[in-house]
């Protein structure tokens, strides 16, 4: 049995390591100060997909990502780790999309693929932390979903068994294929890049990237079709533009504020024995402790 697996992955700004210069004076995000990375839980999802590929011979792993041109990096990174091919969904028409419009666009792209047995994606992306796109893509495609997956245990007779990690427990559930699965950060880490695959796919590029870089390897793209990363605009997938971008987004951002906390007048201590004793004495005396 072979499986057609799709991984939805996103390139995100690394919000976990936000430095002091990450916010501009006007309260907007200084994207240039944040490195763009592979959304961490999408890497956990990729690993689950690759494990299925290892297990069921003839299976393929296809990456679908939506974003600006530089998001092609996500597809290359996936190819280095064992994915077979990738599609970059990029168009100005997608700009301003909320989770629902994003899910609509992704679902249209998936419908444009020949056939799909399993769709896996990270539970959530670290720039929004909403965990909405997975279930919304599933709904748009009319597929069932299994969220918070920690491990895909088995696929047999058209059914998939998955272990879920919930806030207060564990569940093992079984669902029918085709299905969408969102993967938790508690799932195994993604395997590293494979040196041979890095060599193989180092020059994989989208059409736009090829036009931008007039390098000496142009001749290869005809000889080695696997180096072509497919780029799709709205015109390449069947979409209704009313469902995309700001127009297709029921939620609107009314206001954005920088977070400012009320500073307190703090007492500074150097950690000397006498200081700690004094502090503890005070806390006991005012019944904060004890």
């Amino acid at each position: 049995m072979s499986l057609k697996i799709v991984v939805l992955a996103k390139q995100v700004p690394d919000t976990r390591n936000v430095g002091k210069d990450a916010m501009k004076a006007d309260g907007t995000v200084n994207r240039a100060a944040l490195p763009a990375i592979y959304n961490p839980e999408d890497l956990n999802a990729l690993e689950q997909a690759l494990r299925l590929k290892d297990r069921f011979e003839g299976s393929t792993v296809t990456i679908v990502t939506m974003g600006p041109g530089r998001a092609a990096e996500i597809i290359r990174e996936s190819l280095y780790r064992g994915a077979d091919n990738g599609y970059l969904l990029t168009d100005r028409a997608f700009a301003g999309s909320d989770t629902l419009a994003t899910s609509y666009a992704l679902s249209c792209a998936i419908k444009n693929l020949p056939e799909v047995d399993v769709i896996v994606c990270g539970r959530q992306a670290i720039d929004g932390d909403t965990a909405q796109v997975g279930p919304q893509v599933a709904e748009k495609l009319g597929l069932p979903q299994i969220t918070y997956a920690e491990e895909i245990l088995d696929v047999k007779d058209g059914k998939i068994t998955v272990k879920r990690r919930l806030e207060r427990g564990v569940e093992v559930v079984e669902g029918k294929l085709p299905i969408l699965i969102t993967v938790n950060g508690s799932a195994p880490d993604c395997r590293p890049r494979h040196a041979k695959l890095v060599m193989k796919y180092h020059h994989a590029k989208t059409v736009t990237e090829r036009q931008e870089q007039n390098d000496d390897y142009m001749f290869m793209f005809d000889k080695r079709p696997y180096l072509n990363i497919t780029e799709w605009s709205v015109n390449d997938i069947q979409t209704d533009v009313n469902w995309l971008g700001l127009k297709g987004s029921p939620t609107k951002v009314k206001a954005i504020e920088n977070v400012v906390f009320q500073a307190k007048e703090s007492k500074r201590l150097a950690g000397k024995d006498s200081e700690i004793d004094e502090l503890m004495k005070e806390l006991i005396a005012n019944h904060t402790i004890g």
């Binding site: 976990r16 936000v18 979903q145 569940e171 703090s266």
Partner: protein, 339 residues
Amino acid sequence: MNNIIVYLEIEEGVVADVSLELLTKARSLASKLKCKLEALAIGSQLDGIGAQVFQYGVDKLYLADDARLYPYTSLPHTSVLVNLFKEEKPQIALMGATSIGRDLGPRVSSALFSGLTADCTALEIGDHEDKKEGKSYTDLLYQIRPAFGGNIVATIINPECRPQMATVREGVMKKEIFDANYKGEVVNLEVAKYVSDSDFVVSVIERHMEKSKSNLKSSPIIVAGGYGMGSKENFKLLEELASVLGGEVGASRAAVDAGFAEHDMQIGQTGVTVRPKLYIACGISGQIQHIAGMQESSIIIAINNDENAPINAISDYVITANVEDVVPKMIKYYKQNSK
């Protein structure tokens, strides 16, 4: 029609705290909007639910009672919400930002094409003017949430689509009984009208649920550790201090991500919100997303090597020293001097 509806999360016949917290918030929103507060329970053997929720000011309680609806699975619960919302057209729908609410909410919002805002930290009613379209809206739900790793706070609105949907994490809102004698109406839904057999495509084979080990939310004293603790072993020192003082141990997201502490110990925007009498932050630099979850603590002590750590600004006492040096001193003094 046009009411507020809260999805009740139920485990073994008990309504989850997060749902009661939402009912409390929704009650005040309903009074402001002069509409009714409704609650929806989906599961099996729901007779006891009314007694648990009416006192929070619920005017109408919908029950979808069917053995197949417990434990929770995505599609059947989605169908109940989607079909009931089509009939009742609520203006606002709220649910917990739990592994259930975050599985269910997006699916429902997609089916109804209504906006959903995840993990709100505040919900308010307000107006909006769209100057570009020349339209004005009154009494919208302001869904306020942190974004971008907590570095900004965004106010989200859904001007056109209903219901306006939002999820809220446990512990963010306060739970408060509205009127112990409040009585609402019970409406039993005919499940077969809302759920089709084809919705049961995912089945739960095994299930191990634990009561939360951590009592962070209700503990008056919290000793929290951050990435600066350096290892899981070093957290033992914090456990010792917490146990001596009669408190609980919490952690920052960075410490949880690094594997030093368990997930249910996480304090902050993406974890639990706490308001203890005393908060001792050890090796925590104080990223905004952490501070947002503990800034309402009465007394904050920061123990950190970095004299410029952001957490120092909001702390009452700043001890610039090694945690490993300071904490044993605290334990020693307390053991010697407390009764």
